[in-house]
């Protein structure tokens, strides 16, 4: 579990995040949504140790994030950030193997090779294992990175959760692979020690797949809960300044805008 307690983040005198207290539970798909500039990426950055909060604490289980080292975290926490550019030509399998770097010292073990292969099969990139990463399309590259971060936390660790943090993972993907990816996340979540936090823009995807939605607006927590609790006309109107039409069919929620 990841918990943020009264989190504040300031740049100069500008308050970017204000009093954010949320819990992200294992076995649930936690999605963060909100309009541009709401503070989604900032929240993810704080959780990833990329920036330090001005005030407040972040707990991984019961440990304060600040007390955890980069090396220690990398053994059970994987992060996929936006816009990854590779500086040199590298085979897809080599990129995925990077996910195992925290787990071996100089040569990958049997276990690492197996984790990589399984993660590549899981995200449907095994058949491009020997291709040069730089020749792939944007969507293919993204799937390679899914396999990489999955490989990083593929093997359960003793007495603790594994964490996967995704900053706008669906960019570059066509609808097929967006759905494919979301289903894969749900499949990963069947292991009850996995915590997934993701930032998404597509409200309909959030409505369909999320277990828990965190809605941010102007740096504040506007709503937090199940899709039904968060994706209400009032909250959507406040956050996005658009009039939503919410349509329910067979228990599924669809959002349209006037």
């Amino acid at each position: 579990m990841i918990e943020t307690q009264h989190l504040y983040y300031k740049i100069g005198s500008k308050l970017i995040l204000e009093d954010i207290s949320v819990k992200f539970l294992p076995g649930k798909l936690n999605l963060i949504i909100g309009p541009n500039g709401a503070g989604k990426s900032t929240l993810v950055k704080l959780i990833c140790q990329q920036s330090k909060p001005s005030k407040g604490t972040i707990l991984f289980e019961n440990k304060n994030l600040q007390s955890l080292s980069t090396m220690e975290l990398s053994k059970y926490r994987a992060v996929l950030s936006q816009n990854i550019e590779l500086a040199f030509p590298l085979k897809v399998s080599e990129v995925v193997m990077m996910g195992r770097y925290p787990h071996f010292s100089s040569k990958p073990t049997e276990k690492d090779l197996k984790a990589c292969e399984e993660a590549m099969r899981f995200f449907d990139v095994l058949d491009m294992a020997n291709r040069d990463y730089l020749t792939l399309s944007g969507g293919e590259k993204q799937r390679v990175h899914f396999a990489r971060v999955a490989a990083q936390i593929w093997v359960p660790i003793e007495n603790g959760c594994r964490y996967l943090i995704l900053d706008e993972p669906l960019t570059f993907l066509d609808v097929h692979y967006q759905f494919h990816f979301m289903h894969k996340l749900l499949e990963l979540l069947q292991q009850k020690d996995v915590v997934i936090i993701g930032v998404v823009h597509d409200l309909n995807l959030a409505a369909k797949f999320a277990n828990e939605i965190v809605l941010l607006n102007h740096g504040k927590l506007l709503a937090h809960g199940s899709p039904e609790e968060v994706l209400t006309p009032e909250f959507i109107r406040t956050a996005y300044r658009l009039e939503p039409i919410i349509h329910q069919t067979n228990g599924q929620t669809f959002l349209f805008f006037e």
Binding site: T70, V79, A87, P89, E94, Y101, P102
Partner: protein, 298 residues
């Protein structure tokens, strides 16, 4: 050498001049090529070469100062004075780059600011070299130019020993960071998520590069292009894994410089062509040919 008393002239030329020169070539080539590999990996930039953080320009300035001042003050010119002046120059310019690239607010120096500061300091020291060769009288001015184009004619067993030790130690140390440098290929932030302490890695790798390149350059002058071309040739042959690149650029860099030195002594016989000119003349066409032939792009 005590054993050389019984040798013929040819044997002595081989033992005291040719052999140390060939071995020095191996070590200098290895230093420059591994330095290039390390900096390209660290800066995540394929056009970087080991002199970029100011090392070789500082060395050139130190050497130029030595030539210019030596002529003015007529101080004794021992075997170690020139390398020492070059090494000091390299240390001063590189420290200047490191110091100036630190951000005043955070105390951190980003890779980009390091790169840009390096370019600026290089320009400064090069114009210093230009100024010194402009005011120097003829024999000194020629020495400055000659040194800036590199030469291995000063090779001795003593220089082999010094460069050999620094190269071997630095290459072995560099191998320890191969995996972390690999992780850096997908970005600084991403490497941190893979458990790499970027700040420590950066200083360690830069330190290794500076020692290796400063020592090598101090004895042979500025030799360009080896550090740039060797890692590229290897990447074209067999991918970008840094472990592979470090080991093999040490070998290939040495070989390449040996061939270049051979050519530098043969092309204008009995005169000697500066080796820096040879590395460029030979290196550039091979490099461009390979770039065009293989699908090697960024």
């Amino acid at each position: 050498m005590t054993a050389s008393d019984n040798m013929t002239l040819t044997e002595r030329i081989f033992m005291d001049i040719r052999l140390p020169r060939a071995i020095l070539c191996e070590f200098v080539g290895a230093s420059l090529a591994v330095g290039g590999t390390l900096l390209q990996a660290l800066f995540r930039n394929p056009i970087v070469e080991p002199g970029l953080v100011g090392t070789s320009c500082g060395a050139a300035f130190g050497a130029a100062l030595y030539f210019a001042l030596g002529a003015t003050f007529h101080f004794s010119t021992g075997q170690w004075t020139l390398p020492l002046a070059a090494c000091l120059g390299a240390i001063v310019s590189t420290s200047l780059v490191f110091f100036l690239s630190q951000s005043r607010h955070t105390g951190k120096s980003s890779i980009v600011s390091l790169l840009l500061t390096g370019i600026a300091i290089n320009a400064l020291f090069l114009s210093g070299v230009g100024f010194l060769s402009y005011i120097a009288r003829d024999p000194q001015a020629r020495s400055i130019v000659f040194w800036n184009l590199g030469t291995l004619s000063g090779a001795s067993w003593a220089s082999v020993l010094v460069v050999g030790i620094s190269t071997s130690v630095c290459v072995l140390l560099a191998l320890r960071y191969a995996k972390q440098l690999n992780a850096l290929m997908i970005g600084e932030e991403e490497a941190q998520f893979l458990g790499v302490d970027i700040k420590k890695l950066k200083w360690k790798v830069l330190g290794i590069n500076v020692v290796m390149v400063a020592v090598a350059t101090a004895f042979v002058g500025v030799i360009s292009f080896v550090g740039l071309i060797v890692p590229h040739l290897l990447r074209i042959l067999k991918g970008s894994d840094n472990r592979f690149l470090i080991i093999n650029s040490a070998v290939l860099g040495g070989l390449l410089l040996c061939v270049a030195d051979l050519l530098s002594r043969m092309l204008l016989r009995p005169a000697e062509l500066p080796i820096g000119i040879v590395t460029s003349i030979v290196g550039v066409p091979i490099f461009i040919f390979l770039l065009k032939k293989k699908n090697y792009f960024f």
